[in-house]
């Protein structure tokens, strides 16, 4: 029997980037806020102390900072003809757990998504007509344009101390920056990162082919930085332990040392860790959330009433909680009706491994999570993609994110996986190889979705969420086209050998690809196609707001944390308006 607690004005579920941003921004209202985080408390010191945090086995292989799937996982199948089976161990993506969430172990790549990514339906139909959309593709707009989000992108960049070079300042294109980006009002708060030899080779090769290379936007600090909230950041050591690790220097922006301590310092904010939310409880009309039920570290059940609830967990967990709680109608792929679970998407990868002679030194261990040279010449909306037979595109880059050797041991195709010949190849190529990679967009499709599994249950007796997802021809064409571009860039570098990596035949949940899961509770202006209105508010239960990458109607050729942060900052403003006059912020 749940112990009923004293009501709070606002209950926030999850304490990563978006929960932290909302707790900090909404604390200004003076209203009482309770934040429930399923994982442990943690801080830079002592949790990420040097040298102990430079431990590839513990953090990268054994997933110390990630979701514990023995407690909560999902089931997966490629299509609805298969029986979904549990993800029994982490692989393809790595949701976080604990204070700071996945924003502790991210790389720090902080994009603004391209204008096309926010309004792909409008822009595609305007350019190519409605007949251009392939069967089953559910392309749709956010209801929030790039220009509307621009002030929040700007705010998030300054919060995070992003280093980069503007390519479009107020419409003026600047060589050396990303000339394909949407217009920005001001430059990044910090200069770009120092490039590696690999980045230099990419830049020269891309330029020689007529492309527009630029340094990637990085929340790894390129100098000491104090953000507008007065939070101090250290300068990045280029240690190469970013992705899957916490940063001992506070040189990688993370909610755990920025927005979260600022929220926690407020008297009206209470953070409870080891508090795992089981569901949101609605009133008898299913129109209003009354409370959330959660378990503490000892397994005791509590009911936390609240005037409003914000779901700020990982993208997949938010959708799971909505399905478990009956917030919004579940999506049905047969009828195409319902909205929760609709338009789940991922990304598609392809590229080239580029092998050099032994006089070319990459020093792959010197790097940072977001250190990369990029081109957007083939990203969403930058080129005539339909002429090449697909909708979408991808960001092409040469990242220098570190050379930790359990994970990074490039060898040419045909090399045995073990034995003396394998060892000789590892030694030969470790220091003399780079990758040119495509991070490809994936659109929403009628047949790719999330719902509740009919068979499997988690440790707490709740149905697991079921993921039904596979790559479609449109994305495979895109990834193959961009793989050829990657090969051309590799060849232009003067390498000994370039090994192409084409599109995957099927999506597999086994190898790590990216923690860029999107959709399932998407933004939009049409309640029959979106779970959220353009203000991150659920259409059906107006006192529930939802943040995170589950809001994106399709996935882009870029990392999602930039728009995730920007949308959370915008949601905070929307919620402040809501609090003055509770009710739907958009007409239903």
């Amino acid at each position: 029997m749940a112990t009923k607690l004293k009501a709070a004005d606002i209950v926030i579920v999850g304490l990563g980037w978006t929960g932290g941003i909302l707790a900090k921004e909404l604390a200004e209202t003076g209203l009482s806020i309770v934040v429930l985080e399923r994982g442990k408390p943690r801080d830079t010191n002592p949790d990420f102390a040097y040298p102990h945090v430079h431990d590839e086995l513990k953090y990268a292989q054994r997933h110390e900072l990630m979701q514990d799937v023995s407690r909560e996982t999902l089931t997966f199948r490629n299509n609805s003809n298969e029986t979904a089976l549990p993800m029994r161990q982490l692989g393809s993506f790595l949701p976080g757990e604990g204070v700071g969430g996945a924003g502790v172990h991210w790389n720090g790549v902080t994009w603004r998504w391209l204008p096309w990514d926010h309004e792909p339906e409008k822009m595609t139909i305007a350019r190519y007509g409605k007949s251009a959309l392939p069967e089953g593709m559910q392309l749709q707009d956010w209801g929030v344009s790039y220009d509307e989000l621009e002030p929040y992108y700007d705010k998030f960049e300054y919060l995070c101390g992003v280093g980069g070079k503007a390519g479009n300042l107020g419409g003026k294109k600047i060589d050396g920056g990303n000339v394909f980006e949407g217009a920005r009002k001001r430059d990044y708060p910090n200069p770009p990162m120092i490039q590696t030899h690999a980045g230099d080779l990419f830049e020269k090769a891309a330029r020689s082919l007529g492309y527009h290379p630029f340094p990637g936007p990085s929340a790894n600090m390129t100098q000491s930085y104090i953000n507008p909230d007065g939070v101090a950041f250290g300068s990045c050591h280029y240690c190469g332990y970013c992705e899957r690790f916490g940063c001992e220097m506070n040189a990688k922006a993370s909610a755990h040392f920025t927005v979260i301590p600022l929220a926690a310092a407020k008297k009206n904010v209470e953070i409870r860790t080891d508090s795992r939310v089981m569901k949101v409880n609605l009133d008898s009309s299913n129109k209003r959330a009354e409370s959330v039920t959660y378990l503490d570290a000892a397994g005791r059940e509590f009911e936390q009433p609240g005037g409003m609830v914000i779901l700020a967990a990982y993208a997949l967990s938010n959708v799971h909680l909505m399905l478990l709680s009956g917030i919004g109608k579940p999506y049905n792929p047969t009828t195409g009706t319902g909205v929760v679970g609709r338009n789940y998407a991922y990304q598609i990868g392809s590229g080239a491994n580029v092998f050099f002679d032994e006089k070319t030194w990459m020093n792959p261990f010197m790097g940072a999570g977001a250190l990369a040279m990029n081109i957007d010449d083939f990203n969403t909306g930058s080129f005539d993609h339909l002429k090449e037979g697909f909708i979408g595109g991808g960001g092409i880059s040469t990242p220098s994110a570190g050379g930790r050797p359990i994970g990074f041991r490039p060898v040419p195709p045909g090399t045995p996986g073990w034995g003396t010949d394998w060892k000789r190849a590892v030694v030969r190529h470790y220091n003399h190889t780079l990758a040119v990679v495509n991070q490809g967009s994936v659109m929403g499709y009628r047949q790719n979705y999330l719902d509740l599994d009919p068979t499997y249950r988690d440790r707490y007796g709740r149905p697991l969420m079921r993921m039904t997802f596979d790559y479609q021809q449109n994305e495979q064409k895109q990834a193959n086209y961009l793989a050829d571009i990657c090969v051309n860039i590799g060849n232009a570098m003067g390498a000994e050998r370039v090994a192409r990596r084409g599109a995957p035949q099927r999506y597999s949940i086994v190898p790590y690809q990216s923690t860029h899961n999107t959709g399932g509770a998407v933004l939009g202006t049409d309640p029959t196609r979106s779970a959220l209105n353009p203000f991150s508010q659920t259409w059906d239960v107006s006192n529930v707001f939802v943040t995170g990458a589950c809001s994106f109607p399709q996935n882009a050729g870029k990392n999602p944390t930039g728009p995730v942060g920007a949308l959370a900052l915008r949601a905070a403003d929307s919620i402040k308006r809501y609090l003055k006059n509770p009710g739907p912020l958009a007409p239903v």
Binding site: P51, R77, L85, D200, I406, R457
Partner: protein, 252 residues
């Protein structure tokens, strides 16, 4: 290998109650290589046999905690086949990989502490990933038993570790190709985890028992846990960066 390391390894074998002569751990890493006759010595210790007290105690860190002595012999031979000692660099056995695997299996990882092991269990597609009800420690126990039973049946009554070195590689290739006939589990499930853990132990920080003396990091030119390159990244651009690798222990 130095004399010291050779001594130390022999102590380890004594410490776990086996000697090369008793169960035949022939590795490319450490002499003595067994003769055919020695290799065919019966595998099982007599019941209730107690090893002679060792003349010197082995380092506690070198004691197998999970594997039985015959299992340790099998895993040692497997690791030695996957990463032999050669002119390129350290062998997996001298790097400490069998001890690494054993210690991983003896702890939370081995028990599948962070795996979802609720039923029902069904064989899925390759895209759905691992679906056996076995956490890693159990997977090794079953896999080693299956491997040795298959070897005994198809290779003149010899267990894997009793095979001549060249024959081990042939057997392992069959295992990798899924062509070995295992009684209980798909052979590739065992091969995959064995290869993964072998690579982890070989390349991980030495605090876990493998990559002894940072020798594997030195072989590929990885500086280890140091990670202070703000000043060097420009200075060494397209130049070799030579530094003695440091482990977490070295920096602590």
């Amino acid at each position: 290998m130095s004399d010291h390391e050779g001594m130390r390894r022999r102590d380890v074998l004594k410490g776990i109650g086996i000697t090369s002569a008793a169960v035949g751990i022939a590795t490319t890493a450490a002499p003595p290589v067994l003769t055919e006759a020695q290799a065919q010595t019966p595998a099982q210790e007599p019941p209730h046999a107690h090893p002679h007290p060792p003349e010197r105690h082995a380092d506690a860190a070198d004691i197998f905690r999970y594997f039985t002595p015959p299992e340790a012999a099998t895993v040692t031979a497997l690791v030695d086949t996957l990463i032999p000692k050669d002119d390129v660099g350290p062998g997996g056995v001298e790097a400490g990989v069998p001890i690494f695997i054993d210690h991983e299996l003896a702890g939370a990882y081995g028990r599948g502490a962070r795996m979802f092991l609720n039923g029902p269990f069904a064989q899925g597609t390759p895209q759905q990933g691992y679906q056996l009800p076995l956490p890693p420690a159990d997977l090794y126990r079953v896999g080693i038993a299956d491997l040795n039973a298959w070897c005994v049946k198809t290779r003149d009554g010899k267990r894997f570790d009793q095979l001549p070195v060249a024959d081990r590689a042939v057997a392992l290739k069959a295992l990798e190709a899924g062509q070995a006939e295992f009684a209980q589990i798909p052979p590739r499930a065992f091969f995959n985890i064995l290869l993964q853990n072998t690579m982890e132990g070989y390349f991980a920080d030495p605090i876990y028992g493998g990559n002894r003396n940072n020798a594997v990091w030195a072989m590929i030119g990885f500086p280890g846990a140091i990670g202070m390159y703000e000043e060097d990244i420009e200075k060494y651009r397209n130049k070799q960066y030579v530094v003695a690798p440091k482990s977490i222990q070295d920096l602590s």
